[in-house]
């Protein structure tokens, strides 16, 4: 079987998003603790092979209405993430954001 570098890079980008989401979904989060969690998610996933950069934003204004006892649990509803993966000479950028109540993950660029 033959795969292109672009296909391998897309596979790797998918792994990073699945990991990011399912490792941290459920984490107790509040506006106060969101910044530390963003940093930890970014540096954790950047450890994975071929991962060059991860950027996570937890939207404090979306957390606010859902706080019970001062916190809620992290889900895709509260989070936007972008990441860059490089496989050989191919770079893939991908993005996760909420769309119609679903944390949609998509490839936003492949180069070359």
């Amino acid at each position: 079987m033959t795969t292109t570098d672009r296909e391998r890079a897309c596979f790797e980008a998918g792994i990073k998003f699945g990991s990011l989401y399912h490792q941290f979904a459920g984490t107790p989060v509040s506006p106060r603790s969101a910044g530390a969690l963003e940093s930890a998610i970014e540096s954790a996933i950047e450890n994975q092979p071929h991962c060059e950069d991860v950027s996570v934003t937890i939207h404090a204004e979306r957390l606010e209405p859902d706080l019970v006892q001062g916190y809620t649990e992290l889900t895709g509803r509260y989070m936007t993430a972008t990441l860059t993966v490089r496989y050989q000479d191919t770079t893939v950028t991908a993005r996760m954001e909420l769309e119609d109540e679903y944390p949609f993950m998509r490839i936003t660029a492949i180069d070359p």
Copy 2:
């Protein structure tokens, strides 16, 4: 930006593996409970979009030497998984297995 169906299918296959691994890593597991966990992982990940089939084997004989107080925690060391994703008319098969102490994930077939 243009992506092919093959690239999208590879991305989706990666998402499934990252999800599978990081949702269930750390689960208390023993030879007695391994079968129920295999079934739950398979049916959980098959819920995800474009996922046609997931097959998980937890190797009881690898658990045995690592049991402390009768159980251990699930990691890639104990588990082999294969999955099939279909995006439009393209089918990707991928496999995760232990290689040199690392749970390596790879694409094994893309059709067409």
Copy 3:
């Protein structure tokens, strides 16, 4: 420092609930896959020390209105659990259920 068997048993019961919740929160779940997930959660947590019995119900009728693309993610909103822990001669029963939108965990019996 002196702790009673009752206090130790309560501590152990708490560990089981925290584990149960945070290991499995975020798991993709649908009415079709809920039964396998219930069984896996029960047998996984029963592996832990001093844990005699775990019973989990995932309420399919609560999942239905929240399904997006045919599934949702497990949270305390969808789940009731009871468990029994025995420490020396003391048995503690505890329960987690949704109360005012919060998955409240409480001790329901200690004997003796």
Copy 4:
């Protein structure tokens, strides 16, 4: 049924440890990313009810021999944690540390 404040506080302390462990077990971690993860775990668990303080140490020197591709996955093997829970007027301090290859959780003080 009657429970004492001490028993309730012990139950709450157990919940925090189970949560801490099973939310974050499996996280990709390296000496470089360990500090951000420590901070995120502490502030995440401090969100939970009755939790006054959490302190986590990830032992970089224990990570080193187990790094594959530059990282490993967080388990109790690499981590020591202490936490303080207050229920009404009772304060419980508890500690998790590796003992005979098992991440043992114990109550270290109850006051009064």
